[in-house]
């Protein structure tokens, strides 16, 4: 599979000179499978530019995997051109809720007065599914979701294809109320789906000195992210969901702090950036960090 990051900012889009290197669009990752199927992980504002490219070469079947419905993970959906492609089959997966069906919850955004177009009026053929907590097959990949610690119903996704595994946990506070160092692995939120992944994309919103003022906000500290990754025995960690107040320079300080906590190769810890590509085929290849 081939993954490409279209947005990795957390909470709110942050265009501007201070964020140009790693990008200001919110969460969206495209995953192209060997079978020709396409997955899109979350529908943040990065979905708009993805849609421009994808509209010129539409997949036969498209699966959008939503981790949760906070606006920074949903706002791009209404600006995703393929959503308005007549006849295109789009499957949207998301966390269950005891309150309302996934389609009803998404329609709360895609309807007036928040948005001019109603979800029911889009041209593509949209089908809604509960995030699969037992494995499902999509094309050449096996996909499984698990509920994780965040605010409101939220899942992470594990995608396996040809012996390689990508795990996506963009919004996750695994250390809420506990110190991960002392907790058995089976009691750690998200550990089950992250275990042994070749590449883990994980929430790294707060630096350690920022976290005490944000306990319970649903995001991870640098130390928690790295301890989580270490306990899950992942191959590489891609730090994701950058805080909207973090400039490019501050993100690089966060990266240094993260690498200092990683027992393996420093090259296997990196910051997500718009345009980053991750190839998981025979081996694992992550594109080098931008120089600009």
């Amino acid at each position: 599979m081939q993954a490409r990051v279209w947005g990795c900012r957390g909470s709110v889009a942050t265009p501007g000179a201070d964020t140009i290197k790693y990008g200001g669009n919110t969460s969206c990752v495209e995953v192209r499978l060997a079978s020709g199927h396409t997955l899109v992980l979350d529908a943040g504002t990065g979905m708009r530019p993805l849609g421009v490219v994808m509209d010129a070469d539409l997949p036969v079947e498209l699966h959008i995997l939503l981790t949760h419905l906070h606006l920074d993970h949903l706002q791009g959906l209404g600006f995703f051109r393929p959503l308005f492609s007549p006849g295109l089959d789009i499957h949207i997966w998301g966390p269950t809720s005891p309150v309302a069906h996934l389609s009803e919850r998404i329609a709360m955004y895609l309807s007036p007065p928040l948005f001019p177009v109603r979800l029911e009026d889009v041209s593509s053929n949209v089908t809604f599914h509960d995030a699969p907590e037992t494995s499902v097959t999509i094309g050449s990949a096996t996909i499984r979701a698990a509920k994780v610690t965040h605010q409101g119903p939220t899942v992470g996704y594990r995608i396996e294809e040809n012996g390689r595994t990508l795990v996506y946990l963009p919004d996750h506070e695994p250390s809420l109320g506990t110190d991960l160092v002392d907790v058995p692995a089976e009691w750690i939120s998200g550990h089950d789906i992250a275990q042994g992944a070749d590449v883990l994309l994980h929430d790294a919103q707060y630096r350690d000195h920022e976290y005490p003022d944000h306990v319970g906000w649903g995001h991870a500290s640098t130390s928690a992210t790295m301890e989580f990754a270490r306990k899950a025995d992942v191959g590489a960690v891609v730090l994701f969901h950058h805080d909207p107040y973090h400039t490019d320079a501050e993100l690089e300080e966060l990266l240094d702090e993260a690498r200092a906590k990683w027992p393996g190769s420093q090259d296997n810890v990196c910051l997500a950036y718009e345009g980053m590509t991750i190839a998981l085929d025979g081996g694992v290849a992550i594109s080098p960090e931008p120089t600009g």
Partner: protein, 143 residues
Amino acid sequence: MNDSLGAPGAPKSLPLILARELASNLATPMFLLDSGGMLVFFNDAAAMLLGKSFAELGEIPAGEFGAALQLSTPDGESVRRRDSPAGIAFFEHRPAHKNVLATAYDGVRRQYEATAYPLFGAAGEMHGVVAVFWEVAAGNLGA
């Protein structure tokens, strides 16, 4: 989802993980059963009353745990495990509260107010049971 039937080391569902973290941060004695009927955790406050830490006891079937406690009413009438608050929450999927006597692992018999309730997930699936209990003041014993 919990397909472990309580096997130690098996991944726990998020509702159980959150319940454990809640329990870990409380001074109220609390224990957790999973959906397979295993005792999977009790906190330090519970350990003080039960006479053994969870690290010492480990995960055990709830039936074994209940048998060790030798539950009875304050009048001395034996309470079947399925009629205990945790048993009712587990088997009947409803909250329950009782005043009971129980013998701790250190041999001390105490009187408790005990409340238990089932944990249901977003899709209505059963994740386990939370039970909290308070020791009744010694002066009330046998009241």
